[in-house]
């Protein structure tokens, strides 16, 4: 197998995913394109060297439909020989896009590829692409479908995470993110989004609320309680997990991932291609894995896929210096840390999606870039990135710095 190296990584700042968000005026196509242009420009890349661009996008309809990766390639004025493909594995799409792009290199079929993702949640809207899973009785009933928030509350109930536990986790995420921004730890990767004149539209993650504390979170009502009760979803969860008498609804907007707009891109390639482009490899993609898990609770994937990827790589938890576990909901990270025996000091050290937001299709590759920057800053070696996924799945990737 050919080694696949990471040569560069960029991301946009994350804009609030609402009509008053700073990136709401930017098309999904332009968001993706600006990441591609940044990769090209800061590396002085001859784009004809790139074989393929793989972008994750969770709701690839409307302006984000019909293969937004190829559209972005053309809009970013890459060479027309560069192909593009859009993939969808819900919240891990961005990480799977990197893995997919890496596979093209590892399998020795391509020399240089780009993986990344884009999601304009303010413009396209979550769930806009439909899907049979919650809707078709044939599947929804057998799979005990419940919305993710119910699954997150079910995890809290089953594993005994209290409202205080999840809120405390959220406060820590905000604090860490604020500190990371203050110290400029994201500076290497974040490329401001600009308008048609080159004027800056956004240069920071605008979803953050650094002043968040336990008191301010305590005033928020559990977001999924009424839905769970009135729409029957609590009953569905209990039929799947009958040891539970009553769901403890603990999640709300303050301890769940934020809805934001954003995009990211990561330049990958084999050793030879890097040399030809005059680039220095930053890290190697060491291993990755996907797994399916119980779909009703839905969000336990990170635990299982982490075990799987480590076993395949012949590694143990102790061999990983830093972890990025997507903060879809606080209970997901708490569960993963508990089950895998991880120290919070090694997990999401610069905050995560609770503070900065989760632009669905882009997040996976953003997390990979974040952990790579931090490994370099701390001069550590290995990082593991994992996300929970709709439908009950997990994706994980292990990277290792090259010196």
């Amino acid at each position: 197998m050919t080694d696949c190296f990471i040569y560069d990584h960029v991301r946009t700042p994350r804009g609030r995913g609402k009509p008053d968000g700073s990136l709401h005026e930017v098309t999904a196509l332009e968001l993706a394109s600006q990441s591609l242009r940044a990769v090209r420009d800061r590396n002085e890349l001859d784009t004809s060297m790139v074989d393929d661009v793989v972008l994750g996008c969770v709701d690839p309809v409307g302006e984000a439909g019909s293969d937004i990766a190829r559209a972005a390639v053309l809009n970013a004025e890459y060479a027309e020989t560069v192909a593009g493909i859009q993939i969808q594995r819900f919240c891990a799409s961005g990480l799977d896009a990197v893995n997919f792009a890496a596979m093209e290199v590892i399998s020795d079929q391509h020399d240089m590829t780009i993986g990344g993702g884009v999601e304009s949640m303010s413009r396209v809207g979550i769930g806009a692409s439909g899907g049979a899973w919650p809707v078709d009785p044939a599947l929804a009933i057998d799979a005990y479908y419940t919305p993710q928030g119910i699954g997150a509350d079910l995890i809290a109930t089953k594993w005994g995470f209290s409202r205080d536990d999840v809120d405390a986790y959220a406060v820590a995420s905000q604090k860490r993110a604020a500190e990371a921004w203050n110290e400029g730890r994201f500076a290497n990767s974040v490329v401001p989004v600009t308008d048609v004149n080159g004027l800056e539209l956004l240069n920071h993650d605008e979803h953050m609320r650094p002043k968040t504390d336990m008191q301010s979170l305590a005033s928020l009502k559990a977001a999924f309680a009424a839905m769970g009760e009135q729409a029957g979803f609590d009953a569905v969860s209990i039929q799947r997990y009958p040891e539970i008498e009553k769901l403890n609804h603990v999640h709300h907007a303050g301890n769940s991932s934020g809805i934001v707009d954003g995009a990211s891109a990561m330049l990958l390639g084999n050793e030879e291609a890097g040399k030809r482009a005059g680039l220095k490899p930053r890290a190697r993609i060491r291993a990755f894995a996907n797994i399916g898990t119980e779909p009703s609770i839905m969000l336990t994937g990170p635990v299982h896929v982490t075990r799987k990827v480590l076993e395949r790589a012949g590694m143990s938890v102790a061999d990983i210096d830093l972890f990025e576990i997507n903060e879809a909901f606080a209970s997901v990270v708490l569960l993963s840390m508990e089950e895998l025996g991880l120290d919070h000091d090694k997990v999401n050290v610069n905050g995560g999606a609770i503070a900065m937001g989760h632009p669905l299709g882009a997040t996976g590759s953003i997390l990979l870039g974040t952990v790579l920057d931090e490994l370099e800053r701390r001069d550590l070696s290995t990082g593991l990135i994992t996300l929970c996924i709709g439908g009950g799945m997990g994706t994980a990737t292990v990277i290792e710095r090259v010196h």
Binding site: G130, P134, V135, P137, A138, I141, Y241, P242, E243, E245
Partner: protein, 738 residues
């Protein structure tokens, strides 16, 4: 072909009047003969240019009550016969063609090119309503008693003559699902509001209004056959549709625990049907209908919930040679919850009631229960003030046994204590004529023993009501050793008069229902002792199809009562008594901790004054060492609950406590809510097959204890691969209860 069930007359304006009027029946029902005549009608409509359009109405009081359930039974039987002869695949193909026959005819009817209007003169249910939905215009008589609905799901089927497709296209998925999933009918006004019918008119005018529509509007195209047709409420893949459907799927599971394939099939028919043109939708509907007929639930539900219940309602078990009787004056001893309820339902049936208790205050309190119930009914618009006055006038509270004079029947509903019962029996009989019947409403004490206090044990019988009396449909009639056929006949006549369903059982401790319910509760105790999490026990009980979990049920019955029964049984049986896990748990709960159940707000659950009950956190103190939920097989818990009850029912049958398979199934479903989708405990065994059931019992006996050891009868049936319904055919299985 000649028309027998339908007639067709064409008037001078060229409007054909089709009248549905089946000879020799009080109601129109869908039969295969009638279905064939509908095809003939289409030929005539299309073949005669003089016919401009048609009006369809009924010659009976009702329009049509739906499909003939015996036709549905024939579908099932023929399918199984063909499967045995030609294999499953051939049988399924045959059934599919047969199932869609009427649907195809109705589709031809609505596309025959001539305008059709339905003049709905009376109740139209199931296939009856589906006929009208295939008409282009519907006029219904202005009578709030008329019921319009698609109740097929109640017997495990779906509206298979286009109902799932047409109703959905007419009024939208949400409303259509509401109507079809619950199977509850609507009245004409509600039907008009929903858009199911177009016009409401006086009964005498509906045919002329329908005729007028044919002549003046006469559009022979259904909305769903027009260009640019849009289903009201939209299709599933819109933001609103996504929410509607994800919630509908969750609520389906919440309500049914996914035990009811008919409701589920209806959901799929509507969902899939919304995504395709109607012709394809009708084909999809027929496929799901076929699947339901092939499955065990519909046959079992039709048999137990309707046909067997109807037979019992018609007093199939009544000794034939005894003259019909009517209770004119009823005495009730004890005006507590049960006595008051019995008084209420009896007075409602027009019977004069003497409601007797120790003092007038207690007796008046019992009467007040009926007054409160009537107030509720009035508030809901189900009764009027004069109804209430008339009913209350029939309930005469009393503290004087002399007022019982002239009662044809006396029912005692006093405390479950032999001495008190003996006392009131003697006191009442002193006032009664020799021919009067005396009944005990005991739920557990053997009747033969109680009859020892009677001077006329041949007139002494058990009439066991269930709580709450108004709501529970079943009455368990218990024969003591000396109870006469006359007493039985008169007790059954009374049960029929108050519109309840009777089963007749022979005397034994706990009779049939209480005895089987006890096994359900006890199994919950066993699981608790094994360390199964309490919530899991309760949820598994409900998931198996029982109305409440076993521990909650025990709280309702009262734990101290269970404890007292245990003590009494111990005393009665002496050395023969076998102690089990339940005894230990009851001792802990009742004797050591005074947790008596809901009555003192402390049982397996805590009952806070302001809020929902929740499992008592201290349960772990008395339960076995807690198992990890991941190590407990929930399917096995569900099987244990149903298996132990079915096994106990089989034992009751073997011991001649039960003598009629119908009574076993109907009694279990209507008496204590045994998983209705199974058709009852004996249907459950039959469906599984005696060999598989016996094998499971053996496995459970090994794993969980001797209570699962099979009876001789079951072993025999397992060897011979017989079913209860073939070995004991209902009509012949009356092994002389008396």
């Amino acid at each position: 072909m000649a028309l027998e069930n339908l007639s067709l007359e064409v008037d001078a304006d060229g409007v054909a009047l089709i009248t549905w009027d089946m000879p020799g029946r009080s109601m129109n029902v869908l039969t295969e003969g009638t279905i064939a005549e509908f095809a003939e009608i289409i030929e005539r409509l299309q073949g005669d240019d003089a016919i401009k359009g048609a009006v369809i109405t009924s010659g009976k009081a009702a329009f049509c009550a739906g499909a003939d359930l015996s036709m549905m039974q024939a579908f099932t039987k023929d399918y199984r016969d063909t499967a045995a002869r030609d294999g499953e695949k051939a049988a399924t193909a045959e059934l599919f063609e047969r199932s869609r026959g009427f649907s195809q005819i109705l589709r031809r009817l609505e596309t025959c090119g001539k305008p059709l209007a339905a003049a709905i003169n009376g109740t139209a249910l199931g296939g009856g309503l589906e006929v009208t939905l295939a008409c282009h215009h519907r006029v219904v008589a202005n009578d709030p008693k008329i019921k319009l609905g698609l109740p097929e799901s109640q017997v495990g089927l779906l509206p298979g003559a286009g109902g799932t497709q047409r109703l959905t296209r007419l009024i939208g998925a949400s409303e259509a699902l509401q109507i079809m999933l619950r199977g509850l009918p609507v009245d004409p006004q509600k039907a008009a509001d929903l858009g199911i019918v177009h016009e409401i008119a006086d009964a005498g005018d509906i045919v002329s209004k329908a005729r007028q529509w044919v002549l003046e509007v006469g559009e022979a195209v259904q909305p769903w056959d027009r260009d640019r047709f849009k289903v009201p409420g939209g299709t599933p893949y819109t933001p609103k549709g996504m929410v509607t459907w994800s919630v509908a799927n969750a609520l389906y599971r919440k309500e049914t625990y996914d035990n009811y394939p008919a409701q589920r099939a209806i959901m799929s028919c509507v969902y899939e049907g919304l995504l395709v043109p109607i012709d394809v939708g009708l084909r999809i509907e027929a496929r799901y209908f076929t699947k339901l007929v092939r499955g065990p639930e519909s046959g079992n539900m039709i048999r137990s919930l309707f046909l067997s219940k109807q037979s019992l309602d018609k007093l199939a078990r009544r000794p034939a040679d005894i003259a019909a009787s009517r209770v004119e004056k009823l005495g009730i001893l004890g005006a507590g919850m049960m006595g008051a309820g019995i008084a209420n339902v009896s007075a409602k049936a027009g019977i004069e009631v003497v409601l007797l208790d120790r003092d007038m205050e207690a007796a008046e309190k019992g009467k007040a229960h009926a007054a409160a119930a009537m107030d509720k009914a009035i508030a809901r618009g189900k009764a009027s003030e004069p109804d209430k006055d008339a009913l209350l006038a029939r309930i005469n509270p009393s503290a004087d046994y002399a007022d019982l004079s002239g009662c044809d029947l006396v029912i005692e509903a006093v405390f479950e204590n032999r001495d008190i019962k003996a006392e009131v029996t003697a006191a009442a009989e002193a006032q009664l004529a020799d021919s009067s019947i005396f009944a005990s409403n005991t739920s557990t004490l053997p009747i033969t023993g109680l009859a020892g206090a009677s001077a006329r044990p041949e007139n002494f019988i058990g009439i066991h009501f269930f709580s709450p009396v108004e709501k529970m449909q079943l009455v368990e009639v218990i024969m003591g050793d000396k109870t006469s056929d006359t007493a039985l006949a008169r007790a059954l006549d009374y049960v029929q008069a108050i519109r309840k369903t009777p089963i007749v059982v022979n005397d034994a401790r706990g009779f049939f229902t209480s005895r089987v319910v006890k096994t359900y509760i006890a199994e919950g105790h066993h699981m608790l002792a094994e360390g199964v999490p309490a919530a899991m026990i309760e949820n598994a009980g409900r998931m198996a199809g029982m109305p409440v979990g076993p521990l909650a049920l025990n709280d309702e019955v009262a734990l101290d009562l269970s404890w007292k029964i245990m003590q009494a049984t111990k005393a009665d049986l002496g050395d023969a008594y076998q102690s089990d896990a339940m005894d230990g748990i009851l001792d802990e709960m009742v004797a050591k901790r005074e947790r008596f159940g809901r009555k003192n707000a402390k049982g397996f659950y805590d009952y806070p004054k302001d809020g929902e009950k929740s499992l008592w956190p201290g349960l772990s103190e008395i339960a076995g060492e807690q198992l990890s939920p991941d190590d407990v097989d929930v399917e096995e818990l569900k099987q244990r609950f149903l298996t132990i009850q079915a096994l106990e029912t089989a034992r009751c049958f073997e011991e001649n406590v039960l003598t009629d398979v119908r009574e076993a199934d109907v009694g279990a479903i209507f008496g204590f809510g045994f998983a209705p989708y199974t058709g009852g405990p004996l249907s459950y065994i039959d469906t599984l097959g005696a060999p598989a059931f016996a094998e499971r019992c053996n496995r459970f006996a090994e794993k969980f204890g001797d209570r699962f050891v099979t009876s001789n009868l079951l072993r025999e049936m397992a060897n011979s691969e017989e079913t209860f319904y073939t070995r004991f055919p209902p009509e012949q299985s009356r092994r002389s209860a008396a």
